[in-house]
Symmetry: C2
Subunit: 361 residues, 2 copies
DNA sequence: CTGCTCCCGGAAAGCGCATTCCGTCCGTCA
DNA sequence: TGACGGACGGAATGCGCTTTCCGGGAGCAG
């Protein structure tokens, strides 16, 4: 039983397909009231549902919004997705979702798939990688993105700009072929400056010995947070922090903390405890879990701070000092910018001091 | 700059569109090697990307998989979404996502939108409502779902079957018009029996006074868990538990626990503490937070158990006794069943005893 | 050498809809 | 009363692709 088509409705109503089309969608020409009534009645009786594919083909707008995230099960991304979804619903678009595990090559594939689907707009969320081994994939992603733009799509980057491995020192993306179409819009998440402010806030609380548990080198979000944090320390005349690298997730934090145990314990015993900055909340949670496992408690034996303020933190013990990012808002305004072309509000963010870094008394 | 079309590629390669189409997709007829080479080269040179809308129209398969959840930011659903997404990727489908806030009317809208998009399959996750005020919306959802099925779609329900308010005592959905198309497939989540097992496990730990913090009446998931838990108590000859109703989320649990404070405190003081069963983990987390706020600790002053084993629980203190649901697996097999027509593996689940219900010593 | 089959490329007919363009009819103004 | 403009339905075209159907050439058997 194939779906009811517009011409069937037209026939049932005794009018031409053109007329039926005009009454069943918001055309500029509205047929007479009587005839419109007939058509609507016929459509309802037959249970007509327009074929969005055909509509998209005939108009030239699919009503689709693409969202690309690293991992939809990660609260960071699912919060963003929630914002995107809610904006999409309001604007009557429907959401195409892809999780890429963070690899640029998968992201490229996603952009390609969305291009193929003729998505009206794409929101690309999550950190970029600047690792040399990702150069090729980054270039490909960049090309794919600009191709999408050239085809009339809109692209908004939530967090970081695309990375162009070939542009060694220039600003912007060099290639002239890239100047076609709407340029991508960036919702900048000020990782560097917020991390700097976090460092200053922690310094202000009296902490003076720092350790950073970071993600892998070349992960832009992590790198920026590390850099900003170090800058914040430097600006206060504090010694820069040692950086330990691990996976950018809870287990990474857990593993790193295990390596740090002795150091942390000694510092605690010596009365000059460490303050650990984990570059995201999940890593921070891993750190806390690992050290608790070792019998070390925050804030008694060490201080710890995270970044993002994911909602998982709400009932986490100890309350985790972090930097709040309005994730859902970011998703919302990314989607709105992508769909309407409006300039996005810049992402804000604020330091939230909680129990985990309670000032050494 | 409109996108490159197939005929442009064909022209560039000096062949007909038909031939180009045959080489650029997996047609059953593969043109000669030399000609195929030419076409591929032309496609690559021009940067051809097929228009999936047009393909969908011409074939009759969109390559789309629809997923409907209550709230994508809820770890319960984002875990399911992760599983769905990963299966979709493997099967080369792309995901349409909608969050409905759990209202049947939004769910109906989502099904309609997916029907309009000609999604190959739809996965509908989350609890159904049996509240009388949702009767109309449930009927509409049911009709919409069967219309989708009649149009050749596949539907899999992850968790509960659709509710048919008009079928008072019959099994199945009565209306004869409903018999067209593939019937919906259900991935049953055995809420009732698992809750029963949880009750028995807790009874086995020596708990004997129970309280249930449930969701609103008529929320099927909640109702089943309550019923199963009571049955489990009864089977052990234990008194049935008092049920307190609140919103089906963290704040609901929090609020309910606040009302329970005196009762819980008295019981703790009397040496015969309560064991509280919150029908989902987030409610349980709310309960713990509220009671901690009141100075009551689990498992010392009361015991508490949840349901779902969402991954947020990993670092929650105290470790929360719960029922583990393989959420990501459920998503996976739902998607696979929806896409391939394979029979889904029934969802399992197991009681996980943790510190929060440590046996009263 | 003729006749048949098989294979392969191209022409053409849609898929379901939007929209431009026409023809017609009516109303209006001179 | 005649001419003209406007409004309104319908016919037709095209969006980009797939697929059936054709026709011609090559290969083979008789």
């Amino acid at each position: 039983m194939p779906a009811v088509t517009l011409s069937e409705v037209a026939r049932a109503a005794g009018v031409s397909p053109a007329t039926a089309s005009r009454v069943l969608n918001g055309s500029s020409r509205i047929p007479g009231a009587d005839i419109a009534e007939r058509v609507k009645a016929a459509a309802a009786a037959l249970g007509y549902i327009p074929n969005a594919q055909a509509q998209a083909l005939a108009r030239s707008s699919s009503g689709l919004l693409g969202l690309i995230v690293h991992d939809i099960a990660d609260p960071y991304f699912s919060s963003i997705a929630r914002g995107v979804q809610s904006a999409a619903r309001e604007l009557n678009k429907i959401l195409l979702l892809t999780s890429t595990e963070g690899t640029p090559s998968e992201e490229r594939l996603a952009v390609e798939a969305f291009t193929s689907r003729r998505a009206d707009a794409i929101v690309l969320a999550g950190s970029r990688s600047t690792r040399p081994e990702d150069d090729a994939a980054n270039s490909a992603l960049l090309r794919e993105a600009y191709r999408y733009l050239a085809n009339g799509g809109r692209l908004v980057l939530a967090g970081h700009d695309l990375v162009d491995p070939s542009a060694h020192e220039s600003r912007g993306h060099g290639d002239a072929a890239f100047t076609v179409g709407t340029p991508p819009v960036l919702i900048d998440i000020p990782n560097e400056s917020l991390a700097c402010r976090l460092a200053r806030a922690l310094g202000g609380q009296g902490h003076s010995r720092f350790l950073i548990v970071a993600g892998p080198e070349g992960l832009m979000t992590s790198d920026l947070r590390v850099a900003g944090f170090q800058r914040g320390l430097a600006e206060q005349g504090l010694e820069s922090a040692e950086v330990l690298r691990a996976a950018f997730n809870r287990d990474g934090g857990f593993g790193a903390a295990l390596e740090l145990e002795d150091k942390v314990r000694e510092a605690a015993d010596s009365g000059n405890p460490y303050c650990i900055f984990a570059v995201n909340d999940r890593m921070a949670m891993g750190v806390v879990a690992a050290l608790r496992h070792c019998g070390l408690q925050a804030p008694a034996d060490y201080a710890v701070a995270g970044f993002d303020d994911i909602n998982t933190l709400e009932d986490f013990i100890p309350g985790l000092t972090t930097v709040r990012l309005p994730l859902e808002e970011i998703g919302r305004s990314a989607a709105e910018a992508a769909l309407t072309g409006a300039d996005p509000a810049p992402a804000s963010g604020e330091v939230v001091l909680r129990e985990s870094t309670a000032p050494a008394s």
